[in-house]
C-alpha cells in the first residue's frame, strides 16, 4: 500500500498536501482499493465553506457510496473537474491526478489533528 511520507492523513482515509495556506485533498490508495471501481464523484462546490471532519461530498463506487470528509476547515477554491468525466483516475493515481478538491485553510491549528504517514499506516494496520 502506497503511503507517501510528505502527506498528512485522516482516519476517514483522505490525504492532505499542505502548501502555504492551500490544502489539496484526495483519498488514499487504501481507500480507492477498498472502494474498487469508482464511478462517480460528487465534490464540494467552489466557494463552499467546509468544516474539519465533516462530510462535504460523496464518492460512488460500483457497490457502495462513501462520504468524502474534509480534513480541514476552510473555503473550497478549486475542484478537480477531470473527475466529472473520468472518476476512475482516482483508482489509477490517487495521490496525483486523482486529487479531488483544494481549500484555503482557515485555521492552521487544525493541522495538528491530522495523522502522519506513520500514524496512518498504523490506523490501517500496515505498520
Amino acid at each position: 500500500m502506497h503511503i507517501p511520507e510528505d502527506l498528512k492523513y485522516t482516519k476517514e482515509h483522505e490525504w492532505v498536501k499542505i502548501e502555504g495556506e492551500v490544502a489539496t485533498v484526495g483519498i488514499t490508495d487504501f481507500a480507492q482499493s477498498e472502494l474498487s471501481d469508482i464511478v462517480y464523484v460528487e465534490p464540494p462546490t467552489v466557494g463552499q465553506e467546509v468544516t474539519q471532519n465533516e462530510p462535504c461530498g460523496t464518492i460512488e463506487a460500483v457497490k457502495t457510496v462513501a462520504d468524502l470528509y474534509s480534513p480541514l476547515s476552510g473555503e473550497v477554491i478549486e475542484v478537480n473537474e477531470e473527475l466529472e468525466n473520468e472518476p476512475g483516475i482516482i483508482n489509477n493515481d490517487p495521490y496525483g491526478h486523482g486529487w479531488i478538491f483544494k481549500i484555503r485553510i482557515k485555521d492552521p491549528e487544525e493541522i495538528k489533528n491530522l495523522l502522519s504517514a506513520e500514524d496512518y499506516k498504523k490506523h490501517i494496520g500496515e505498520a
Binding site: 462517480y40 460512488e60 463506487a61 457497490k63 457502495t64 457510496v65
Partner: protein
C-alpha cells in the same frame, strides 16, 4: 394470536437473556391508566363462505355513478387487455423485487415503462414509478433541494390542493413553501407575483399544466422567467393532455411528474394508482425511486438490472436520496400496456375526444346562461358558477339521478357555488346530454 412463532424454549432463552420474567415486563413503560383492560369487542370469526357473502352484500350497496368529477383522477376507458395482462400471476403476485435480477420479466417491464414514459413526456429519464401523483410531486420538490441545496420552493396556488397537502406533510421541517398567486380572471399563474417572489433562497418553482381549474398555463413563459433567475422548473402535467399539447420535455422542465391513473388504471375508490416521475439526465443521481437498466452479461446476452442503487437506503442508510425503494409496479405495468395498446394515434384520439366532450358541456352551460369564473382556455375540466350551493346540487344529482356532476370547490376555500366539471372520452352523447339536462 401466535403472530410470533417462537417456540416456548426460544422465548424463555430470550427472556433469560433480557433478565425479565415475562413479555409484559417489556411493556412496563406504558402507563397503567392508558392500557386497554377489557377485550376488544370484535364479532365472531367468520368462515370463508360467510366472509364472501358478507363482502358481496357490502359491494352490492355500491351504486354505479356516471362520473363527471375529476380533480386528479379521471374516468377514462380501460381496455380489457390491461386487466388481462395484469392477471398473469407472474406479474400479479410479485412485489417489488428485492433480489431484482432473478425477476427478469418484471425488470424488463420496468425498463419498457421508463422508455414509454420518456417518449411520451420528451424527458431524458424516468424512474419505474412512485406511489401516486401527489407523492411524486412532493419527492420532486425534495429533489430540487438536493440539486441546488436551496431551502425555499415556490408553488403555484392553483395546483391540485391535495398535492399541496401531501407536499406540505412531506417537506415539513425540511424546506419552506411559498405559494404564488394566480390571476383571478384568467385562472393562470400571476407571472408578476412569481418574478417578485423569486429570491436567492428559491430552489424551484412548481406549477400544474393544465392547472387545477383545467386551464392551460403558459409553460414557455414560466420557463423563461425561472431560467433567467436560475430557478428549477417542476411541472405537474396531465398524461392525457400531452398527446395534444407540448409535453414537459419540450418546454425544458427540469423535473416533471404526474398521476398515471388516467392511462389505463380504473378509479376504484382512490387507488392503487402510480406516480410518474421524470427529470433531466443531469439530475439522475438525485432522483428518488428505482431505475431499471438494460445490460449485457459476460457472454454478451441481453439482461435487465437495477441501476444506480447506490443512492438508495439499503446502501446509503440515512443519507439515501429518498426513502422510496418500492414502486407501484403492477399499476405501472397497466400503464405500459395501455400506452402500447393505444399507440400514438389512440392516445391522441382519447385526448381529443376528452377535450371535445368537455368543451361541449361548457358550451351548453354557457347557452343556458351560466358564468365561468376563469377565462383561460381549458383542456378536460372547467369551473362553473352555479346559482345554488354546489354541494347540495351534487348531493341531489347523485341521489336522484346517479350522476356525479363534478367536484364542489368550497372545501378548497373557493366559492360555495363553484363546481369543477370534467369529461373524458368515455362519456357517451346520451350521458353528456343527461348531465346538461341537470342544469
Amino acid at each position: 394470536m401466535p403472530f410470533i412463532p417462537n417456540p416456548e424454549e426460544a422465548r424463555k432463552k430470550i427472556l433469560d437473556f433480557l433478565n425479565i420474567k415475562n413479555i409484559d415486563e417489556l411493556l412496563d413503560v406504558i402507563p397503567e391508566e392508558i392500557r386497554l383492560k377489557e377485550e376488544i369487542p370484535l364479532p365472531y370469526a367468520l368462515s370463508e363462505a360467510e366472509v364472501e357473502k358478507y363482502v358481496k352484500r357490502l359491494a352490492g350497496e355500491n351504486r354505479r355513478l356516471r362520473i363527471f368529477g375529476g380533480a386528479g383522477a379521471y374516468d377514462h376507458y380501460v381496455p380489457p387487455v390491461v386487466r388481462s395482462v395484469l392477471k398473469n400471476p407472474s406479474f400479479l403476485t410479485a412485489y417489488t423485487p428485492y433480489q431484482a435480477e432473478v425477476s427478469q420479466g418484471t425488470l424488463q417491464a420496468m425498463y419498457e415503462f421508463q422508455t414509454a414514459i420518456c417518449e411520451l413526456t420528451g424527458m431524458d429519464i424516468a424512474n419505474s414509478s412512485m406511489y401516486d401523483g401527489a407523492s411524486a410531486f412532493a419527492e420532486a420538490v425534495l429533489m430540487a433541494k438536493r440539486i441546488n441545496k436551496k431551502g425555499k420552493v415556490l408553488i403555484a396556488d392553483n395546483i391540485n390542493p391535495f398535492y399541496k397537502k401531501v407536499c406540505e406533510t412531506y417537506t415539513k421541517h425540511i424546506l419552506e413553501i411559498e405559494y404564488v398567486k394566480y390571476d383571478k380572471k384568467e385562472g393562470t399563474v400571476d407571472s408578476e407575483d412569481l418574478k417578485q417572489k423569486i429570491d436567492e433562497d428559491v430552489s424551484a418553482f412548481a406549477f400544474q399544466h393544465p392547472n387545477f381549474f383545467g386551464v392551460f398555463e403558459n409553460p414557455f413563459k414560466l420557463r423563461e422567467i425561472t431560467k433567467e433567475k436560475g430557478v428549477l422548473l417542476i411541472s405537474i402535467f396531465d398524461p392525457v393532455s400531452i398527446s395534444l399539447i407540448a409535453p414537459p420535455g419540450e418546454y425544458d422542465a427540469d423535473i416533471a411528474v404526474c398521476e398515471g391513473q388516467p392511462l389505463g388504471l380504473p378509479l376504484s375508490y382512490g387507488g392503487p394508482y402510480a406516480g410518474i416521475f421524470t427529470a433531466k439526465r443531469d439530475f439522475i443521481r438525485m432522483m428518488p425511486g428505482r431505475i431499471a437498466g438494460r445490460a449485457e452479461d459476460v457472454e454478451g446476452k441481453e439482461g435487465y438490472v437495477m441501476v444506480l442503487q447506490t443512492r438508495e437506503q439499503h446502501i446509503r442508510r440515512e443519507k439515501a436520496t429518498s426513502n422510496i425503494c418500492t414502486n407501484q409496479m403492477l399499476c405501472a405495468l397497466g400503464i405500459l400496456v395501455y400506452i402500447l395498446y393505444m399507440g400514438k394515434d389512440g392516445l391522441r384520439n382519447v385526448a381529443l375526444k376528452t377535450h371535445n366532450n368537455t368543451v361541449k358541456i361548457r358550451d351548453a352551460l354557457k347557452k343556458k346562461g351560466y358564468n365561468f369564473p376563469f377565462e383561460g382556455d381549458i383542456f378536460r375540466e372547467f369551473v362553473v358558477e352555479l346559482k345554488e350551493d354546489a354541494e347540495n346540487f351534487v348531493y341531489e344529482c347523485v341521489k336522484e339521478r346517479g350522476i356525479m356532476p363534478g367536484i364542489p370547490l368550497k372545501k378548497f376555500g373557493l366559492s360555495d357555488k363553484y363546481l369543477l366539471i370534467g369529461a373524458t372520452e368515455n362519456h357517451g352523447e346520451s350521458e353528456i346530454n343527461e348531465l346538461i339536462s341537470l342544469f
